[in-house]
């Protein structure tokens, strides 16, 4: 094809016009604020009552609200309930709902929705894995659309924590009654609504214009890209395809820090990293042997090398927890003292087996460090790797092990962390009726101060008796593009909060 001179001239003249036109278009229309996030896997379902999967609750946090919610420090603050009071006998809890809250389908939130939701989670047909937390809830009353009363069979202080958890999400009564498929089409009151879920690829969240927090959320769209490989997330962050990745390893830091467009935010996880010792084992039932193991380990070094750094703890509570009390000075790193204690117990050169969950590389690394440190005080430790299901069945449920390395997730309520300890039922097989009794009493006691006093006692006995080697709470590294601000995480629920997130 041959163009005439006129046509060529026309094209040359039109080019600047086109350019100006497109610039004008961009200038007029504000660019939608889209955040690209990396989620580490595909949620099994989006029904908050039918799973205990973390990925589900990480997604649902943006779609649903709960009556109360944890703030960044883990304190329980109002959410859908503006206020609440507890009766003197601690058996009746009254919640006053926030007015004018609407579900994504337009229904207005009333006390009937709360009642229907909790009836759903308790129903046998739904068979929620979290139904047990609602066991003491025996009756619900709705005196008016803005008030709901929960009646309990016994005092249950962890109730607020349960209501603040992901499975405390409030669903619309109308859709519950019609048997709506919440698993793939969630309808809540949350800051975003679901517009698309392409399984194993992405979940697209769109801003809820009627959200009850005025002016929030800040973003128009959040795209949760499902990326299972950490290395791919890191590359995405470096190239700008991703705005946030929460799966950053300490090893990735040098590479990310070199990039001027990326920043790293470090926070403390709610994890309680431990080496568990089976106290029903003849050797480990001797307190001196357990003490020796505690003295033999340089905790800060293990935290740094295996877990990417963190804060050393001395008892069974995550260090960022309001109920945490520092006992880390009780058994300082002192290999000579460890050798002396082993000699006293007649356990020099004793053989021990350490079972490690093969799929959790940090725990395996920590295990190798522990092994070397214990070897240096004279113990003969052999490592055995097992797969995760074997670990759960043999070690955690069966108690068939001597030493093992694992991390416990700190819970919103200390009862979630401590319940059952001091009895045979827990995998450390540490029997201490005094501690078990204190933990039971604390569950039925209300008020932070009163409960803290009780938990302080229980945690001190555990710190002295060391059924575990308490290592510490590790750091979490979140990588963000420089202009992203206001990304929040709730450590104890391991969920993300995009309400405050925006681009500068």
């Amino acid at each position: 094809m041959k163009r005439t001179l006129f046509q060529k001239m026309l094209i040359i003249l039109m080019l600047p016009a086109l350019l100006a036109g497109s610039l004008l278009l961009f200038g007029c229309k504000e660019e939608p604020r889209v955040l690209n996030f990396a989620l580490s896997g595909n949620p099994d379902t989006l029904d908050p009552h039918k799973t205990s999967g973390t990925l589900t609750f990480q997604t649902l946090k943006s779609l649903y609200d709960t009556l109360v919610e944890p703030d960044t420090q883990g304190r329980i603050v109002p959410a859908l309930a503006e206020s609440w009071e507890v009766s003197a006998d601690a058996l009746t809890w009254t919640f006053h709902l926030r007015p004018g809250v609407r579900f994504h389908n337009g229904d207005e939130l009333t006390s009937e929705d709360v009642k229907a939701t909790f009836e759903r989670i308790k129903s046998e047909a739904v068979a929620s894995p979290n139904a047990g937390e609602f066991a003491s809830l025996t009756a619900m009353e709705t005196p008016d659309p803005a008030t709901v009363m929960l009646r309990l069979s016994e005092p249950y202080a962890p109730l607020l924590a349960t209501l603040a958890s992901g499975w405390g999400a409030i669903l619309p009564a109308g859709l519950i009654a019609s048997g709506h498929d919440f698993g793939s089409l969630p309808v809540g009151t949350g800051p975003y609504s679901l517009s698309e879920w392409v399984r194993d690829s992405k979940i697209v969240l769109t801003r809820n214009e009627d959200y009850w927090m005025k002016g929030y959320p800040k973003l128009d769209t959040v795209v949760m890209n499902i990326i299972t490989e950490r290395a791919v997330q890191v590359q995405g962050l470096l190239t700008g395809e991703l705005d946030i990745s929460y799966l950053i390893d300490k090893e990735d830091l040098p590479q990310l820090e070199e990039n001027p467009d990326v920043k790293i935010e470090r926070s403390l996880t709610a994890l309680i990293m431990v080496m568990a010792m089976n106290c029903s084992d003849p050797l480990l039932s001797d307190l001196r042997v357990r003490q020796a193991i505690n003295h033999a380990v340089d905790k800060q070094t293990v935290l740094d090398v295996a877990y990417g750094g963190g804060q050393v703890i001395g008892t069974f509570m995550d260090s960022g927890n309001a109920y945490y009390k520092d006992f880390s000075g009780l058994y300082p790193y002192d290999p000579d003292r460890a050798r002396a204690l082993l000699a006293e117990a007649g356990a020099q050169a004793a053989e021990l087996q350490m079972v490690l969950p093969q799929n959790y590389e940090p725990h395996v690394k920590a295990g190798e460090l522990y092994q070397e440190m214990l070897t240096r005080v004279g113990l003969d430790v052999k490592i055995k790797l097992v797969d995760w299901s074997t670990w759960i069945s043999d070690v955690y449920r069966g108690g068939k092990y001597q030493l093992t390395v694992i991390g416990h997730t700190g819970k919103l309520d200390p009862d979630g962390t401590l319940r059952g300890y001091g009895t045979e039922s827990r995998y450390v097989r540490w029997v201490n009726p005094e501690t078990a009794g204190i933990i039971d009493r604390a569950r039925e006691t209300s008020g932070f101060e009163a409960r803290k006093a009780l938990y302080d006692q229980a945690l001190e006995i555990m710190a002295r008796e060391v059924p575990f080697l308490f290592l510490g709470s590790s750091y979490r590294y979140v990588g963000l593009r420089k202009q992203v601000t206001g990304f929040r995480m709730t450590p104890k629920l391991d969920t993300f909060d995009f309400r405050w997130t925006e681009f500068e």
Binding site: E372, K382, I383, L385, D387
Partner: protein, 273 residues
């Protein structure tokens, strides 16, 4: 390639393997450090005067670990190949010499074993038996036995109809005597070639399983385990991956060269390819 060069390469490979074997045997004496000794002050030290091939993420000496790792590799090779040869030959001979029904049954079993992808089968066996070096050796031995069974059966069937074997029978020799005096000596060459190749495969599978965390248990040094540790630090400490990888590649290459050269010597038809 001229025959002289080939012979040279063959002897080079053999020498390397002899050195490797000697190093593995003498590992505790010649390794400068205890292979599991951690030195957390000297993590990721680059190759130099103190650490010939550098240190790993726990400050362990890479050179000492490679020498000790050779022990796992060679031990797995020897034990696994012995199991495979013994089991395979027994099955192959039985199939060749016993009746048609037994032959068909045994070969069906062997073929079904062969039909599985090797690593997948190894993973299943190890998952069933539990993780560890012993289990890995057993698994590899069982997995490679069909190769020997088929080889031995085919050769035995061919030899069985040779005139001199028939003559031996005619002279009143028992089956066992015929097997011992005529069939086994004639098989030996090909079995040795197959052993060399299987040895190389066994070393690779041990490394693969250890890489997946199913083989050698940490902190026992194994090349596969070293590569597994190294993959998180490729940019930071490339020597952690390079040297164990080199040791693994060289070992496998040497066994393959030896196997190929022997095969050519035994079967002259392969010459001049």
């Amino acid at each position: 390639m001229p025959a002289r060069n080939r012979t040279l390469i063959f002897y080079l490979a053999l020498t390397l393997l002899v050195i490797l074997g000697a190093a593995a045997l003498a590992a505790p004496r010649i390794a400068p450090y205890r292979p599991t000794a951690q030195n957390l002050e000297a993590r990721f030290a680059s190759p130099g005067a103190d650490h010939f091939l550098g240190t790993d993420n726990f400050g362990r000496d890479v050179y000492s670990r490679i020498i000790h790792g050779a022990r796992s590799a060679l031990l797995v090779g020897i034990v696994a190949v012995t199991i495979a040869v013994t089991l395979g030959s027994l099955v192959g001979l039985t199939a060749a010499l016993a009746g048609r029904l037994i032959d068909a049954g045994l070969m069906l079993l062997m073929d079904s074993l062969l039909s599985f992808p090797t690593v997948l089968l190894a993973i299943s066996v190890v998952s069933f038996l539990g993780y560890g070096l012993l289990q890995v050796m057993l698994a590899i031995g069982v997995i490679y036995s069909p190769v020997f069974a088929r080889l031995v059966r085919a050769e035995a069937l061919a030899i069985k109809t040779e005139g001199y074997v028939e003559a031996a029978y005619a002279l009143g020799g028992s089956t066992w005597k015929v097997v011992r005096r005529h069939i086994i000596p004639n098989l030996l060459g090909k079995v040795i070639v197959q052993c060399s190749i299987t040895f190389a495969l066994a070393v690779v599978i041990e490394a693969s399983l250890s890489y997946l965390g199913l083989g050698t248990q940490p902190p026992t040094p194994s090349w596969g385990l070293m590569l597994k540790d190294a993959r998180n630090y490729l940019a930071q400490a490339p020597w952690m991956a390079f040297y164990p990888g080199l040791a693994l590649a060289l070992t496998v290459l040497c066994f393959n060269i030896i196997g190929d050269t022997l095969a050519e010597k035994i079967n002259p038809r392969l010459n001049g390819n």
